[in-house]
Amino acid sequence: MYLKNLQTTTGRSPEKMSNSSNNKFLNSKGSRLSIAAFLLLIIPLIVGCESPGSVGEGLGPDGSSVTTDEYSVTDVSSVEENFFSGGLSYSAMGYIEDPVYGTLNAVAVLKPVISTSAVDTLVEGDTMTLRMVFNSSIYGDELSVSDYEIFELEDQWRGNELKYNEAAPVDFSSKVAEFQVADEDTVEVELSAEWVEKYSTYFNSDDANRDSLYTREFTGLAIVPAETNSRVKFLRHTPADEEEDPAITEFRIYSTEFDEEEDEDVEVVSSLGLRDWGAYVVRSDEPDYDSGNVLHSIDRLMEVNLNLPFEDLQSKNIVNASLIFSIDRSDEQLNSSIVRPDVESIRAHTFSTPPADLISEIFATPARFGANINEDEEIFKVDVTQYILDTTYGDVNAAPLYFSAQSVNGILYSIKLHDNAAPQDRQPRLIITSVE
């Protein structure tokens, strides 16, 4: 029944094993299994803790590595649309003939409120001033002295409807004041008595429709630069710092009242805020550019269409996608006497469906992407990873990206970016970083 060698290979035949039970072994059997069970239990305790380490650097048995792929950005075009120019944080005033970005003629327009708790009535002898507080930004010759005249406007205007590149309807027959500005940060100029009297008819009126009449009939003031100027300054409408530097542009009323303690007339100064404000800024004589993509914060965007290689990208674990734009300062350096507001950032909007009013949409919605300038390398590196992920792995089409300079805040920003005519390392490109 059993193999001859079975005795040797197992030590005993199955029958013998079955018949060999005795009480001693029954007693010892439990102890042997107890030893085995004990050893089983202590094995995990014997094993030491794990410690990760970077052994085998360079061997890469898992094949994980980071790769970057570079794609040219060739579909770039300019979009010339005029942004809004009223009701912003700053209003431009001045004149500059910039050989790089063209001639800019900026007329600031202002309209005072017609009520203040400090003054009930404007009376004969009261005077009014315009106190202009300037932002530190300058566009033009820092050392020049600028001449300005203040006129009334011919037509009504609304600050939130003003757009750039519209001519100011100035009534040059009704001059209200004139002044000069050098490097002051604040200038106060007295307004003509005729204009104050005209203004006081609305200010002092008790008519029920006083406010609507003022809105409809009173056109406010235009600060018109002389064409001999070579600088644009920016009126401040929001405080630089609420506590440290709260001053903003305003009108002031100087009146007198009797001080019973002093027993004499004393001068009282009352602030009169702005009811509406804005700027008429017209760009002209802009040169034709042989190369590059120019952005103006007031009237020029850059539309970028990324012709993405979807088949290639869909095989990648994308961790970052960045658009690289290099700044072209060559023209600016040729005209280094002109100081320009620094463009510290660019931003990009994108819309799933083409908007009916592109500028309004861009003005009203926050930018989806943006980048601050890298001053060392003079580039903008715009993180568009989510855009690439959505278009590569999602079911949405790759909509255009609309890039604009800095922000629309009333300051005139311009910048020139390299295009594909530039040396290769300065050309616009898309860098896709992925993990494999």
């Binding site: 030491g48 794990e50 052994v55």
Partner: protein, 439 residues
């Protein structure tokens, strides 16, 4: 009675297994093995028969009626008992190179086998499950890259952590048949299942670079064949000795595999599972397991002392891993040879002391490895020792072995590993379906 104790032991070990596995999954502990298992579809995993596990030998030429033999189908024909066995292991891998070191631990289910003697000592069938290759590793990579070529931006530091698991597992079914008193043959067919998973976590020093978790999976299956031969001769040099030889041939197995890469990403504001599309050559690939020839010689000096020697050849130079040709180029033929000795004091008819209740094993093996990287073979020297807890009332047993090995080298920018750990096998051998003759 014996069944009760062994079932208790099996319950204990499975409880520990499940607990450890759950703990490993939760804490990423005890689930990382050899550094070199990250190459290709993993490091070869030997199927040690429980009886010879303490010698570090497969047992291709060593028959035991007390435990199953997973390595040689021919030996299934000699089985007089119904055998069941389950084995687990707990291994430590202390790796170091010239710059860094790491310590990893791997708790693994090694194998399961059930042998049924259709015709006792003449025809037996076996059903088993065991790993063929194992790819359990953790790899931490730190590096930097320049974000934009040609522009001097700050380098971005990154770290990837790759946790690999899986490999090729085999469900094997076969039969052994005793042709003559001293010659037995066997055949088995194996279903080879390739399940290789790598979970990668990437993190970057620049917040504009998205941290990422993604999975790389390779799956496929194929069928393979294995043939076995066993022969023995008694009373060669004395009246109580025996020579036995055994050999198996495992034919190459080609698996048509498919790779997928997926990760959860935020797409259009929603968390979405993204399956990366890859071109055809990257999705479909070939994983070819090498042919294996395993031979052994066992000499039973008497009923107490057994010597055994084995040599195994695997033709890894013919193996394929088309998903990574660079790693496939590391494959080279593998030769493993080992020698061991066993002492069975419990086989005496007279009761001895406490230490005579156990089976003792000692062995050593040298493995040239299946990889040649940077001109160096990733070879391994193993020392093994084992102790067997043998039931005197039945043929069942528990085998516990300790293993210590040195793998690789720190030269040529490679990694040297000190390996140590335990393997444990529970072996159930009972009469089943048969009324014992003496009753």
């Amino acid at each position: 009675m014996h069944m009760k104790y062994f079932l208790s032991a099996i319950i204990i070990i499975f409880s520990i297994s499940i607990g450890e596995t759950a703990d490993a999954q939760n804490q990423n502990l005890a689930n990382s093995g050899s550094f070199y298992s990250g190459f290709g579809y993993g490091s070869p995993s030997e199927s040690f028969s429980p009886n010879t596990i303490g010698m570090g030998l497969t047992g291709v030429s060593t028959f035991s009626n007390q435990s199953a033999n997973v390595s040689n189908p021919a030996l299934w024909g000699l089985s007089g008992f119904t055998h069941g066995s389950v084995a687990v292991s707990m291994m430590n891998y202390n790796a170091s190179d010239q710059f860094d070191s790491s310590s990893k631990a791997l708790f693994a289910f090694d194998q399961f086998q059930l042998i049924l003697p259709v015709l006792r000592n003449r025809l037996g069938v076996s059903l088993s499950f065991n790993p063929v290759t194992r790819s359990d590793f953790q790899r931490v990579t730190e590096d930097t890259f320049a974000p934009v070529d040609g522009i001097q931006l700050d380098d971005v530091d990154y770290l990837t952590n790759t946790q690999g698991s899986g490999g090729v597992n085999k469900f094997e079914f076969g039969a052994g048949y005793r042709l003559m008193d001293n010659i037995t043959i066997g055949y088995s067919m194996g279903a080879y299942l390739l399940t290789q998973k790598q979970e990668v976590t990437a993190a970057f020093s620049d917040v504009s670079y998205r941290g990422l978790n993604y999975d790389r999976d390779i799956e496929g299956y194929a069928f393979g064949h294995k043939f076995g031969l066993f022969a023995n001769k008694n009373s060669v040099f004395g009246s109580d000795d025996q020579f036995a030889i055994g050999a198996t041939v495992t034919l190459p197995v080609t698996i048509d595999a498919e790779r997928s890469v997926s990760s959860f990403r935020t797409i259009n504001g929603r968390r979405t599972l993204v399956e990366l599309d890859q071109n055809g050559s990257a999705v479909d690939g070939t994983v070819k397991l090498p042919m294996e020839i395993n031979t052994g010689l066992t000499y039973n000096l008497n009923r107490f002392v057994v010597f055994s020697a084995e040599t195994m050849i695997q033709q890894w130079s013919d193996a394929e891993y088309s998903f990574n040709p660079a790693q496939e180029a590391y494959f080279k033929d593998r030769l493993k040879t080992g020698f061991g000795v066993q002492y069975h004091p419990y086989r005496t008819e007279q009761r001895g002391g406490f230490f005579s209740n156990f089976k003792y094993s000692l062995g050593s093996s040298y493995d040239t490895g299946h990889l040649n990287i940077n001109g160096e073979d990733i070879d391994t020297l193993f020392l093994n020792a084992g102790i067997g807890f043998v039931s005197r009332q039945a043929a069942s047993s528990i085998d516990l072995s300790f293993e210590y090995g040195i793998r690789g080298t720190e030269s040529a920018s490679l990694v040297k590993e000190n390996i140590w750990g335990f393997k444990l096998s529970l072996n159930l051998a009972e009469f089943m379906f048969v009324r014992p003759k003496f009753q």
